[in-house]
């Protein structure tokens, strides 16, 4: 495997146990993603896409196998180090947005900075800056319930960016959106990838959008990589 690879997994497996029943969500996934690539992940429901992304994002730990990001063994990090990895290295976006309903848009974007120990004025300044980037400066004091799905997802993207991560992980970011809005969201992610060099891993069922914007595609089936397609060669 290429040493230059930014994200590498080796024999990555995740088994969920319910009493005596074991569900293998992922089995021996070995793949690598170079820095600055936009990778699309596809697969049927229950094929293990979310599980893979959660492991890459440090939200969960593998049952076996390893994850290496930028040379660091993420799968070996302590609980606290893993929290710092989530805080500083990755940004995550979800199908259901996962915004805090009690907070305004700007407060949601600033939320991660709270844990980073950033002063309040600086938190708000950076959050507002990012809302401008996603074109939502006018809605900064609105709560998620007052925003459309696309707007909420843009707030979520701004929040994912606020700690200046190197990797953006998106779990079906367009799953709850119509095709027009979906396109806008994917465009934003693609722009971040092109202009800011963020490595993006995006789960999506929308093959057309992926073919248009992704550099490569990974197909999952039953917890294993069954398909890998490079659409654009790295520069």
């Amino acid at each position: 495997m290429d040493v230059d690879e930014f994200i590498e997994t080796k024999d990555l497996a995740k088994v969920y146990t319910f009493g005596t029943v074991e569900v293998a969500a992922l089995r021996a996934v070995t793949l690598s993603v170079a820095r600055g690539r936009l990778v699309g992940v596809t697969g049927a429901s229950g094929s293990g896409k979310s599980t893979l992304v959660n492991l890459l994002g440090g939200l969960d730990r593998p049952s076996s196998g390893s994850i290496r990001v930028d040379g660091r063994l993420v799968s070996d990090l302590s609980k606290k180090e893993l929290a710092l990895y989530r805080r500083n290295t990755v940004g995550m976006i979800f199908q259901s947005f996962n915004l805090v309903n009690a907070y305004t848009a700007v407060e949601n974007v600033a939320f991660p900075l709270l844990f980073a120990g950033v002063a309040k004025s600086e938190r708000l300044r950076r959050a507002e800056e990012l809302l401008v980037t996603v074109g939502l400066e006018a809605r900064k004091d609105h709560r998620p319930t007052e925003l459309s799905g696309g707007e909420q997802q843009r707030v979520a993207i701004a929040r994912a960016l606020v700690n200046r991560p190197q990797i953006l992980l998106a779990d079906e970011p367009t799953g709850n959106l119509d095709s027009k809005t979906s396109r806008q969201i994917v465009e934003i992610l693609a722009n971040l990838n092109k202009h800011q060099g963020l490595t993006v891993v995006m789960i999506s069922h929308e093959k057309d959008l992926l073919r248009e914007f992704a550099d490569e595609l990974i197909g999952l089936h039953d917890g294993a990589v069954v398909d890998r397609e490079v659409l654009r060669q790295p520069l």
Binding site: R86, F111, F115
Partner: protein, 465 residues
């Protein structure tokens, strides 16, 4: 995370659920209020008693008893059982027991004189009391009359509100407490000076006619007692006499020994008196000694004991008293803790609810980089804030309630002629302790729920429903 952010988060989250915060905090307020009330009452009693003891110089007194005590009839010609009880006490409390073969010295006038000459003794006087009926106009009350020599009475031993102690030992004059005057219906004690008061004693009458009367009477009216009336003039009114005072002040009426000698009296409380030989040299059941300072108590006690008498000093009881107060405090705390316990269960409930409601938010916190510790501390600050608010308002509530109770007690006590006083005491450590304790309890109540919050699995919390 910054401390200011923890505080901001806690306040913000509590503010969002105003009603719930208010109700939970109210529980803590009531719990802390009750505890504070209890402890302040305990402190108040403690302070009042100790202050009273200090004010009345109680720690400057030593009681002396004949080594044999009044157990030997004939030794005690003084009609006072109280001394007998004290002697029992003194015996139990120790002091060197004189050789049983050696006859114990008599506690008589000569002994009194010798004790009075001991270094550090300010005054020594015999304890002589007898029961009597005090009559003023139509009102009649039963009380104990204390015989106190004029020189002792004038030595500054008793504080008078008006008038002065009788000048010699002979006249039929008395000093009376303002509370007894009050009970006798005198509103203004200043006006009582010069008033004639009747002191009536009961004496045994074993005359033949009396016995006959007894045998044939039907109503049991005719007990072998004869009532004798003596007229006394009020020359002094003493303030604050009562059971807590030193011996001369434990009675509400003081009369000089000369006048007392002319009275036929009977102690209803002393059986021995019935068999006491009339006449003969009087020996006292007890002598009260006032020393110049509490430091003098020990040396004076030693000296008196070396003369063969038993002693008792309240000073020795100080440690016992402290333990007593400690037990009382423990009891009050135990009762007060009931409220706190209930309140802390309320906090646990509120925190569990809050954490369930914010399950997804906890997942978000973790996804954006909160450590388990961050999550736990965010919630601990919330329960701690409930504790702080509960402590502050609980202290205020406890203070307010105690003020009301204090007022009510004072109004009731004023009817009994008791002076106004504060029954509650709020030392600074009680106030500070109440707040800190409230915070501590709230934090402890938060431990289980917040640990649950810290352990939330973000993958589960964030999975769309």
């Amino acid at each position: 995370m910054r401390i200011s952010d923890y505080i901001g988060q806690a306040c913000g989250n509590l503010w969002k659920k105003k009603l719930r915060t208010f109700l939970t905090t109210s529980g803590v307020v009531i719990g802390v209020g009750a505890l504070v009330c209890m402890l302040a009452f305990g402190q108040g009693i403690q302070r009042n008693v100790t202050d009273q003891f200090k004010k009345l110089d109680l720690f400057n007194y030593v009681n002396v008893f004949a080594a044999g005590g009044p157990d030997r009839p004939g030794e005690s010609s003084d009609p006072d059982d109280d001394g007998g009880r004290r002697a029992e006490h003194g015996r139990r409390r120790g002091g060197p027991v004189p050789d049983a073969n050696q006859p114990s010295p008599r506690l008589d006038a000569q002994a009194l004189e010798r004790i009075g000459e001991i270094d550090g003794v300010e005054a020594a006087f015999p304890e002589m009391r007898f029961p009597a009926q005090i009559r003023l106009g139509a009102k009649e009350l039963f009380t104990l009359v204390q015989v106190l020599p004029a020189d002792v009475g004038r030595s500054g031993l008793i504080t008078l509100r008006s008038g002065a102690c009788y000048a010699s030992n002979e006249p039929n004059e008395l000093v009376i407490s303002d509370s007894l005057l009050h009970r006798l219906g005198v509103k203004d004690p200043e006006t009582a000076l010069g008033t004639k008061i009747e002191v009536a004693t009961l004496t045994l009458d074993f005359s033949f006619t009396r016995l006959l009367q007894m045998v044939f009477s039907s109503g049991g009216q005719a007990l072998p007692f004869a009532r004798e009336n003596y007229a006394f003039t009020v020359v002094g009114v003493a303030g604050r006499m009562g059971f807590m005072g030193p011996l001369p002040m434990q009675s509400d009426v003081l009369i000089p020994p000369g006048a007392a000698a002319k009275m036929r009296k009977l102690s209803l409380t002393s059986v021995w008196d019935l068999f006491a030989p009339s006449g003969g040299t009087a020996s006292y059941s007890a002598v009260t000694v006032k020393v110049k300072s509490p430091q003098q108590v020990e040396p004076v006690k030693k000296e008196i004991e070396s003369q063969g008498f038993r002693t008792f000093a309240l000073m020795d009881q100080l440690e016992q008293m402290r333990i007593g107060f400690l037990i009382m405090d423990m009891f009050l705390i135990a009762v007060g803790m009931i409220g706190i316990t209930v309140a802390s269960l309320g906090i646990v409930n509120t925190m569990v609810m809050s954490i369930l409601e914010r399950y997804r938010e906890i997942g978000i916190m973790k996804a954006v980089g909160a450590t388990d510790g961050d999550v736990q501390r965010i919630f601990l600050f919330e329960s701690g804030t409930i504790g702080l608010l509960g402590g502050l308002f609980g202290l205020s509530l406890g203070w307010a309630v105690s003020m009301v109770i204090n007022e009510v007690i004072n109004i009731l006590m004023a009817r009994q002629g008791a002076p106004r006083m504060d029954y509650f005491s709020f030392p600074w450590w009680l106030c500070l302790g109440a707040i800190l304790f409230s915070i501590l309890v709230s934090l402890l109540a938060g431990v289980y729920p917040t640990r649950r919050a810290a352990r939330v699995d973000p993958v589960v919390a964030l999975r769309h429903d």
